[in-house]
């Protein structure tokens, strides 16, 4: 009997010690949650998904503390283990949160990457077109602003903050849209078939005048950056020209950097010692039409009352390595200027137009920019 009691006590002690050695929470469960926590931190969840991360981490910290501090960690097998249940729920929720954040990150990353590439392309297209149309058309501040925003967006992207990168990229896109709209507004007339027809008519009339008067005439197409010399209604030769830094615009006031459009005449010829620009042909800008537009702009408040109409518009020379733009004049390489100078006289008509065809560079550029805007 005594032996049976002794065996029972021994078995009980063994069972008891086995049970008492069983941890209340499986260590691998804690490790798994810890791993989820590390993964959330490594993908930057505390910064990019602070609410979700805090919800997880706060529960995790709370449970960790409770597991560590609870005295009643040793349970009988039949006792329910609330901590384990809670930890398993947290593991499931943490895993789901991690998957959700990873998915969102991947989506944001892809959207930001794609948007940055699109904006790079748009900015590059805009800059290329602007460059092709003549460096430094005064675009305003938007392009610089868009460029700065794009740089910031790239910086946030590099830091893995895709949401912020996307948000800044969207601002850059809006700024670029504004710029493209402004550019379209300024240069729309190059794509306007009626305007192009009017320019063509002016050119044809000048050529006809040259033919009937058996005299030279000069035609300047701003979009082509070309000056053509006509004699007796026949084109003798064409030369590349450099225009005002804002040369594609129609001149309105002094200092606008624009090259005027219209019918002019040579009013004076300046030889080598009379001009710092090799040789020069002074034009009768502003003519009556220029003055009418200028006064109308003053009356409408488009330009200040104190504005001046400007003057001293010339066709002049410059060595080929010199300035790439003018303040509004038409500039030829010296050798071409020499030829032109020798073939014209005071009174020679000079017709300056924007474009001669509807399918000009600007019209095509505007169409492309519009397409990009629509696609963006």
């Amino acid at each position: 009997m005594l032996r049976a009691v002794s065996i029972t006590i021994t078995i009980s002690l063994i069972c008891g010690s086995v049970i008492s050695c069983t941890p209340a929470v499986p260590p691998d469960l804690l490790t798994a949650i810890e791993d989820i926590d590390h993964q959330l931190i490594s993908i930057g969840a505390p910064h990019t998904a602070p609410d979700e991360y805090t919800a997880f981490a706060a529960r995790w910290a709370a449970l960790t503390v409770r597991v560590q501090t609870d005295d009643d960690l040793i349970r009988w097998p039949w006792e329910p283990n609330h901590f384990e249940d809670e930890l398993r729920r947290l593991l499931a929720e943490g895993t789901a949160t991690l998957a959700k954040i990873e998915e969102r990150h991947a989506l944001l990353r892809s959207s930001a990457e794609s948007m940055l590439a699109t904006l790079d392309d748009r900015l590059s297209t805009l800059s290329t077109h602007v460059s092709l149309l003549g460096n430094h058309i005064l675009l305003g501040k938007e392009v610089t602003q868009a460029d700065l925003l794009l740089k910031q967006a790239r910086s946030f992207f590099a830091q893995g903050d895709y949401a912020r990168s996307l948000s800044v990229a969207e601002q850059a896109a809006k700024t670029l849209n504004l710029q493209a709209e402004a550019l379209t507004q300024d240069l729309q007339r190059y794509a306007d078939s009626r305007q192009v027809a009017r320019w063509r008519l002016m050119v044809n009339q000048t050529i006809e005048w040259s033919r009937t008067h058996r005299s030279p005439a000069l035609i300047v197409s701003k979009v082509d950056r070309q000056l053509s010399l006509y004699e007796n209604g026949r084109k003798i030769s064409s030369y590349p020209v450099r225009l005002g830094y804002n040369g594609l615009k129609d001149k309105l006031v002094q200092g606008d950097g624009a090259t005027p459009e219209g019918r002019y005449r040579v009013t004076a010829m300046k030889g080598e010692r009379e001009t710092p620009f090799y040789r020069a042909l002074l034009l009768d800008y502003p003519n009556a039409e220029d003055q009418r537009r200028f006064l109308a702009a003053i009356r409408s408040g488009a330009i200040p009352q104190t504005a001046s109409i400007g003057g001293q518009i010339e066709i002049h020379g410059m060595d080929s390595t010199g300035a790439s733009q003018t303040l509004g004049c038409i500039m030829l390489d010296n050798q071409h200027m020499k030829t032109v100078f020798s073939r014209v006289t005071v009174g020679t008509p000079v017709t300056i137009v924007g474009a001669l065809t509807e399918r000009n560079h600007i019209a095509l550029a505007l169409t492309e920019l519009q397409k990009q805007r629509d696609a963006g």
């Binding site: 610089t144 740089k151 620009f277 010199g322």
Partner: protein, 203 residues
């Protein structure tokens, strides 16, 4: 025997009375809450988000333990763990707050440094433009003026971000301005290199 019974009853009553007097350590709990709040105010949720999230967790655990003890019959209440948690939470919160403050100061210093570099780069570009010699190519240089104006305006955005304590944005903005300003300065220098002193024409 009767006397012995009296002593036992007396001792039990003393124990029960003493246990019944157990009160939550309100001052320590408040101190812990205040310390966590202070850590947040010091920017811990932004500059030490992992640690701050864990702090909030400890505060939650503390409150759960407090609620559990309060739900017990008075003689069995034991606020020892609550007190221990409150003390350790307050201590950790102070460490997190200090670390967050330091990180925030570092971010601020980096942003201010970037702002200064950007300001200098813009000023340098502006000086180049102002000091560009009068000549026909002044036209080309003048057209860059709007770029510099845009950069100058953007400097105000850096300051606005600094004022909002968004040092990450301030730094990104300042770096972009610096990069752009340097590119513009190079462009101006290139344009200036072509300049030959000539008499200026009126346009």
């Amino acid at each position: 025997m009767k006397s012995m019974m009296h002593i036992v009853v007396f001792v039990v009553l003393i124990i029960l009375t003493a246990a019944g007097c157990a009160k939550p350590p309100s001052d320590k709990i408040e101190a812990a809450e205040e310390a966590v709040k202070n850590a947040r105010e010091k920017g811990a949720n932004v500059y030490a988000p992992e640690e701050y999230a864990k702090l909030e967790g400890k505060l939650t655990a503390l409150k759960q333990e407090l609620a559990e003890q309060e739900s017990k019959f008075a003689p069995f209440q034991d606020y020892g763990k609550v007190e221990e948690l409150a003390t350790s939470t307050a201590q950790e919160a102070a460490i997190v707050a200090s670390a967050a403050s330091q990180k925030k100061e570092e971010a601020k210093a980096a942003a201010l440094q970037a702002q200064q570099v950007a300001q200098e780069a813009v000023a340098s570009a502006r000086d180049l433009l102002v000091n560009a010699p009068v000549g026909k190519d002044r036209a080309a240089i003048a057209s860059i003026k709007s770029d510099i104006e845009a950069l100058t305006a953007s400097l105000a955005q850096v300051q606005a971000s600094l004022d909002k304590e968004d040092y990450q944005a301030a730094q990104a903005q300042a770096k972009a301005i610096d990069e752009k300003s340097r590119a513009i300065s190079a462009e101006i220098q290139e344009a200036m290199a072509k300049v030959k002193p000539r008499k200026r024409a009126l346009k």
